[in-house]
């Protein structure tokens, strides 16, 4: 057992801290959020240069041989700055699935340029009826000559407007909600028949509704095996969950630090409100919650490479439950302790609160993952 960071990991942490400090002051972030794209190409280029886009991939895949701990380190800092660049959809989800399931040719064509910062991805899995069930997919891919034709709808696809390729989860067989019969396709974002409705999300990210109207792709668009995508997707989503958890711990650190600072300076009845015992204890509870979130995220990051999918799934769900709970506690408490200021757009606190709230809703909320964990734990 060893829970200390290596020297390289410490350097990575410092570099990520520095990036956030330099580029993501509150007002700077507001300006980035207001751009059409919603993120800055120059930041993305810097990620490539710093090696962050390839750090978690094996050297044979063209990466730098790191893993979930490196992802955790960077995502945590991204959380502190509420970073808007599409690292999760492109690198963790898109890159992760290609590395796991892609052919040599696909890795060459997709992963290598992604690591260089030249390709971005989006992952389209959700449909109106899916809620948190990854297998509740009805967008249909039917054989068409040697290739496939895709028709249907996908919703809340993060980064679809900036992505070069959309990785689409489609039904090629099986019945409704059956895990068997799902296939991943890599679809050119500009493909004929693919239309988009773009919008910002509550937390200033960008997502889209996608409509596929007989979108034709070749046989080489299939990522992994036909009908066998579900385990790939489940693993990729578990990894994305753990990365999100790391982001959330960064958000919690930032919101707690801001609130602590606020209650030390804000005066009422002639004293700083941080002198009131009720706020003191609530602030302690916030820090305890953030500690627990960090602990569960670390544990999940250390277990997510486990060969046993049950170990992996339990670790991811367990961490997601904790960050759902802790994120809500820290977010709501921070707003309350900021008083009226906490519900305005002017203060950073409301933006962290929104992000923490949205993280809970992504890939299954606290309740969903508690049930998932519970079922796995009782089955053991």
């Amino acid at each position: 057992m060893d829970l200390s960071l290596s020297d390289e990991q410490k350097q990575l942490q410092e570099a990520a801290e520095r990036f956030v400090r330099d580029k993501y002051a509150f007002d700077a972030r507001r300006k980035i959020a207001a751009t059409e794209r919603g993120w800055l190409p120059e930041n993305w280029a810097q990620f490539a240069e710093l090696g962050w886009l390839g750090m978690a991939f094996s050297e044979e895949d063209g990466g730098y041989g790191g893993g979930p701990i490196e992802t955790m380190i960077v995502m945590e800092q991204f959380g502190k700055g509420l970073v808007l660049e599409p690292f999760l959809p492109t690198v963790v989800l898109g890159g992760g699935m290609i590395a796991r399931a892609g052919s040599a040719a696909q890795k060459e064509a997709l992963l290598a340029p992604m690591i260089e910062g030249k390709k971005q991805f989006a992952f389209a899995w959700l449909e109106r009826q899916s809620r948190y069930n990854l297998a509740d997919v009805s967008l249909k891919a039917t054989k068409e000559g040697t290739g496939w034709s895709l028709s249907g709808h996908k919703g809340v696809v993060y980064n679809a407007a900036s992505a070069d390729e959309i990785i689409v989860l489609a039904r090629t067989g099986g019945s409704a909600r059956e895990p068997k019969g799902l296939t991943l396709f890599v679809v050119d974002a500009k493909a004929k028949g693919l239309s988009r409705r773009d919008y910002p999300t509550q937390d200033a990210l960008r997502a889209s509704e996608l409509t596929f109207d007989k979108v034709s792709v070749g046989a080489d668009a299939v990522l992994g095996k036909v009908d066998e995508a579900f385990p790939v997707v489940e693993e990729a989503v578990d990894r994305a969950i753990v990365a999100l958890c790391a982001e959330a711990t960064g958000c919690m650190d930032a919101i707690n630090a801001g609130t602590l600072e606020y209650i030390k300076t804000r005066k009422q009845f002639g004293v700083p409100i941080g002198k009131f015992q009720v706020l003191q204890h609530r602030m302690v509870d916030c820090f305890t919650n953030a500690q627990e979130a960090r602990s569960m995220t670390l544990m999940a990051s250390l277990k997510i490479d486990d060969k046993d999918p049950t170990v992996r799934a339990k670790a991811a769900s367990g961490a997601k439950v904790q960050i759902g709970k802790s994120g809500k506690f820290c977010g709501q408490s921070a707003v309350q302790m900021h008083g009226g200021m906490g519900v305005t757009d002017e203060m950073a606190v409301s933006h962290y609160f929104k992000r923490l709230t949205m993280i809970d809703l992504m890939f299954g909320n606290q309740q969903h993952h508690l049930t998932r964990y519970s079922n796995l734990a009782m089955a053991a």
Partner: protein
Amino acid sequence: MDLSLKPEHKAFADEVRAFARENLSPATREKTFSGKHYDRDDHMVWQKALGKKGWLAYTWPKKYGGPGWDVTQRFLFENVLAEEGAPRILPFGPKMVGPVIYTFGTEAQKERFLPGIRSSEVSWCQGYSEPGAGSDLANLRTRAVREGDHYIVNGQKTWTSFAHWGDWIFCLVRTNMDAKPQEGISFLLIDMKTPGVTVRPIIMTDGAHHVNDVFLDNVKVPVENLIGKENEGWTCAKFLLANERLGIAEVPSSKRGVSVLRKIARIEPQDGGTLADDPAFTAQIADIDLQVQALEMSELRVLSTMAQGGAPGPEVSTLKVRGSEIQQRIAELTMEAVGEYAQPYQPGMLFHDTNETPIGPDHAPPAAPRYFNMRKTSIYGGSTEIQKNIVSKMVLGL
């Protein structure tokens, strides 16, 4: 003891319902049930209709032009209107400054101000909070200096709801700088059109504009706009706060919220069925439903004591505390019911009439913004922490 209604009360409820159905616009009703923001007309058209009927100032005694209803009638009125999707009556005129004027004002003041409040022809807003004062209300810095038959007012008010719609503002101002915090305060009515009054929007976390900063820069206010005596405004302030706290629990709208939530659960898909099939979720609805019932019954017990001549004591603070927690929880569960589709931010659907179709189901666009926005309920009107301090001191003697 009896919870059942007498026939005359049933008839009364029917009358209120018929009135609401006739006078509420479908667009306004739809906003209520979906949780979208009202615009000015939604409020004003409805309030003027109530005013015309003599029901806007429904808590007032007959003497001052109110209907003089008993507790049961008020209860029915509030509940039926909530069920029918009416916007809440903006409290600043009829529930706040009106009772202060008829309790502490001169005959001339009553004649001048009460009719406009009753009819909703004149809109009011509240100048209590100041920057840096928060729940510590008595710590106010806005100054009114007497010059002849006028006060010259300088200072800043904040968190002023609907100041951008207001014709008049009632303000707490300091008229004696040397006195203790709660002394030396006066209660002043200020015409918003007076030179020197400036309103600046505060944008909420969901992008909404409800509240404002109000700057008072050498504002000249005639002495006849002073309510009560100079330096005795704290009496009016406390009277107003006690009135405010009672209705602020918002039970009728929370009851509606629970029923809307059940409806949404029956629509939201999950695993081939709906969320209504998920006992883990429906148990959470049941839990908040029961919390609403407990709060309603607690409120009825207070009202029943008042009807027998008791005054609402500081224990109504606990109703406010629980009422705000409940509103927040309903908003939270509604957002969770919507799930991933709560993520798109759709200001077009929230604030304006638009012909676009919403992203996700109709109930999706306001779900997350409402959750964010409802955090304010445990902050405004005296934060939860302040309310508990009050109960601890005044009720428990700690």
